[in-house]
């Protein structure tokens, strides 16, 4: 895809040279110990388009299922934030066709009630806790779903501040709930409807409209470069 030949990501001199055996989507490969799961994909010659986004643990594009040596438990991780280890086996999660409700957040009349129209499956949670176990951000997702249903929107918005929308809580849900989408709706409703309006902000907007800073602007914008530099130096 690109033309650069120098691969700055895994400069050989900075890698510990111990190699480990891993399995990617069922195939065995040898890669340097400790590199991230995404780098292991590159290392084994795979082009990554779907499955990588921010590379910083924020976008959720790299949702991955993995298992460590001899452990039956399949876990989840963000591939850009997880180091490989010997005997590890992993597969990047494909996109999951969850249903997102459409709404006009500002014109909602009764957001706590509207939740049940938009996501009628939300109250059908069967408490299996699979969503919580699947969350790589360690959010108590199950608890969040219940809090949403009981109208505690504030707690939900706080609990899901870490949510990277990787969607790993969704395919595991036996009640076909997409907890992250429910939480997103709830958080937006919390922000738009149940949070105090910041008065200072309105005052500042009005001050600007009324030209309260015009004199100061005129003074500053009329300055020569030198005057402006001197003036800036006085701002502490």
């Amino acid at each position: 895809m690109a033309q650069e030949d120098s691969n700055v990501i895994d400069q050989p001199e900075v890698l510990r040279h111990k190699m480990v055996s891993i399995e990617i989507s069922g195939k065995k490969y040898e890669v340097p110990e400790g590199i991230t799961v995404i780098k292991a994909l590159w290392h084994t010659g795979q082009e990554v388009v779907r499955g990588a986004g921010c590379l910083g643990g924020f976008c959720g594009a790299c949702a991955t299922y993995y298992r460590t040596k001899d452990d039956p438990k399949v876990r989840t991780c963000l591939a850009c934030q997880m180091a490989v280890e010997d005997g590890m086996s992993f597969t990047i999660m494909p996109p999951f066709p969850a249903r997102k409700a459409l709404y006009d957040i500002q014109s909602l009349k009764d957001p706590k009630q509207d939740l049940f129209n938009l996501y009628p499956e939300a109250p059908l949670c069967r408490n299996c806790n699979a969503c919580t176990e699947a969350c790589p951000q360690k959010i108590d997702v199950r608890e969040g779903v219940w809090k949403a249903v009981f109208g505690d929107f504030k707690s939900v918005s706080e609990m899901f501040m870490d949510c990277v929308m990787c969607g790993m809580c969704t395919p595991v849900c036996i009640a076909d709930i997409a907890p992250n989408l429910v939480a997103l709706y709830v958080s937006r409703a919390q922000g738009a409807h149940f949070t105090e309006k910041p008065l200072g902000l309105d005052i500042r907007i009005k001050e600007i409209q009324d030209g309260r800073f015009n004199d100061e602007w005129n003074k500053v914008l009329a300055m020569s470069e030198q005057q402006l530099a001197d003036h800036c130096a006085t701002v502490k």
Binding site: I9, G53, C54, C59, I105, T195, E216, H231
Partner: protein
């Protein structure tokens, strides 16, 4: 020595350091420091661009090669459009989403095309916050002056005034969409102090400001049913017989087909260049930060501004290996975290501007006061446990949950152990030159966000980028949409390419690379594999 042993000096010197105040550099000392140590002044990394709108201007060799690169599009290509729209937005980060939403709100037809998924961008990673002068003791004029000072007085005054004045109404817009900014007890917006700012002015959503804004904007783009083309990378723009912009050609990354979009105007919101790894630096940027918008605009004849200056964020992670280049938020320094060298000494006022702090870290390391990891990297300490010592146990965890989690995954507790950092390639200070409506000198070609240039001068102040995205995303969207109502769709040609190629030929041909780059070449090739075995 292992990292743990090396760390001890930070713990031992903490109490003594707490009593110290480190003055900021005088203007003369600061200039001297920057000229000696800042990567922007490493002459060997630069060369003049041979041809095009910025012929003879200096930039880094990595970017020069791409700007002089050739298009992947042949001159005789079928340009029958697959889609037709009023406004075509390219890029799904903050600037792209804001542009699309505002254009759509006027009733214009909008298509948003992006290289990866909607939101896979630098914008989701912004942790530090967004500068808006909302505090009573602050003002847009002070915001203007701080930014100017940080930008070495090189900022475009008109763009800057627009940004600082529209800031508060942007905050209102975001709050109405449901963005959860941190609040004070009285319900007003909580503001933090950022590096280089004279007043507390950073609006935050814990340390997830960009993520929170992007979750909301993405959701809104979907709610508004704006047409999306995901995994579509713009590879060329289209022009009419007068050289005005009339659309773009994309490469669908799933099936490798070309997609032609006819548009009355195009807004490029393609973001930055970190993945070019300028001068070999690691980067904090997302996978697709390859400067595509610069190449596309340049071939159309758009002039670039300040493309010789880049921001190296002072605190990129150096250890553990897996986090190389990842950002350690400036918030840590805003809350009083010290930078400490191998001798246990502070060496710079931690809240000085980024270029100053980065230069001084490079100085410490080049003069032998850095800390070397076992894998051969070098850096200085950022004393994170100090925050708990100063403000009470649990402070780090409460204020920086994202960062706690990032390091915890590798078994490091940053509230107990300091982190090792070194400057990381972070931001493109310059970009495509725009006017106050975000339009370039090519008619109907708009550029918004990090891809644009002029606003930030030679050094962007922390937190000003998120505001830039929202303000100029909005302005580009509104201007493009209002114009669309009163104009016909122009012809679709690649005439500008013919001209660009002729110009290249005159100057000894293109650089030999195909641009834009689209994604960095991290996939190892067979030859390399055998070589390292």
């Amino acid at each position: 020595m292992d990292i743990h042993a090396l760390q001890q000096i930070v713990h031992q010197t903490r109490d003594a350091r707490r009593k110290q105040t480190i003055p900021k550099f005088s203007p003369a000392d600061r200039d001297q420091l920057i000229h000696k140590y800042h990567p922007d002044y490493r002459a060997s990394a630069y060369r003049p661009i041979r041809f095009g709108p910025n012929a003879d201007d200096q930039t880094v060799v990595e970017l020069a090669a791409l700007l002089e690169g050739d298009s992947s599009i042949p001159e005789h290509i079928d340009l029958t459009p697959h889609y037709t729209t009023d406004v075509l937005v390219v890029g799904g980060g903050g600037a792209g989403c804001a542009a699309a939403l505002h254009a759509h709100a006027t009733g214009a037809k909008v298509i948003l095309a992006t290289k990866l998924r909607l939101g896979d961008s630098n914008s989701v990673m912004a942790q530090g916050g967004m500068q808006i002068s909302v505090a009573p003791e602050d003002s847009p004029v002070t915001h203007f002056l701080d930014t100017l000072k940080g930008g070495h007085m090189q900022n475009d005054h008109e763009l800057l005034k627009v940004m600082v004045e529209e800031g508060p109404s942007i905050a209102k817009w975001l709050i109405e969409l449901g963005v959860l900014f941190d609040r004070q007890a009285d319900g007003n917006l909580h503001v933090k102090k950022g590096g280089g700012s004279s007043k507390p002015r950073l609006l935050t959503c814990s340390d997830y400001t960009g993520l929170e804004i992007m979750r909301v904007l993405k959701d809104e783009v979907l709610n508004q049913k704006i047409q999306l083309l995901e995994f579509c990378a713009a590879v060329e723009l289209l022009s009419d017989e007068n050289g005005q912009c009339t659309g773009a050609i994309f490469k669908d990354l799933d099936n490798h087909r070309h997609v032609v979009v006819a548009a009355k105007s195009v807004i490029l919101a393609t973001g930055g260049i970190g993945r070019l790894h300028i001068q070999g630096f690691p980067t904090s940027n997302h996978y697709g930060a390859t400067g595509d918008g610069l190449c596309l605009s340049y071939r159309m004849g758009a002039k670039l501004d300040h493309i010789d200056t880049f921001q190296y964020h002072p605190s990129g992670a150096v250890y553990p290996e897996q986090l190389i280049g990842a950002l350690v938020t400036e918030g840590i320094r805003s809350e009083g975290g010290h930078l400490v060298n191998a001798k246990g000494e502070r060496f710079v006022n931690e809240l000085d501007t980024r270029d100053v702090v980065s230069s001084s870290i490079i100085r410490e390391c080049e003069e032998g006061r850095g800390i070397r990891t076992m894998s051969g990297r070098i850096g200085v300490w950022l004393d994170t446990p100090l925050l708990d010592a100063e403000h009470g146990p649990g402070t780090v965890e409460k204020h920086f949950p994202a960062m706690m989690m990032q390091f915890e995954r590798f078994g490091i507790d940053i509230s107990k152990d300091p982190v090792l950092i070194y400057p990381t390639l972070h931001y493109q200070n310059g970009g495509v030159k725009i006017d106050a409506n975000s339009e370039t000198n090519v008619k109907n070609l708009f550029v918004a966000g990090e891809a644009s240039g002029g606003l930030h001068g030679r050094n962007r102040l922390m937190g000003n980028s998120l505001l830039d995205l929202m303000v100029f995303g909005k302005r580009s969207g509104l201007t493009a949409a209002s114009r669309a109502l009163s104009m016909p769709q122009g012809k679709l040609t690649v005439n500008h390419l013919q001209q660009f190629r002729a110009e290249a030929k005159k100057h000894g041909n293109s650089s030999g690379v195909i641009s834009p780059m689209i994604l960095p070449a991290y996939t190892r090739k067979e030859a390399e594999r055998t070589a390292t075995k």
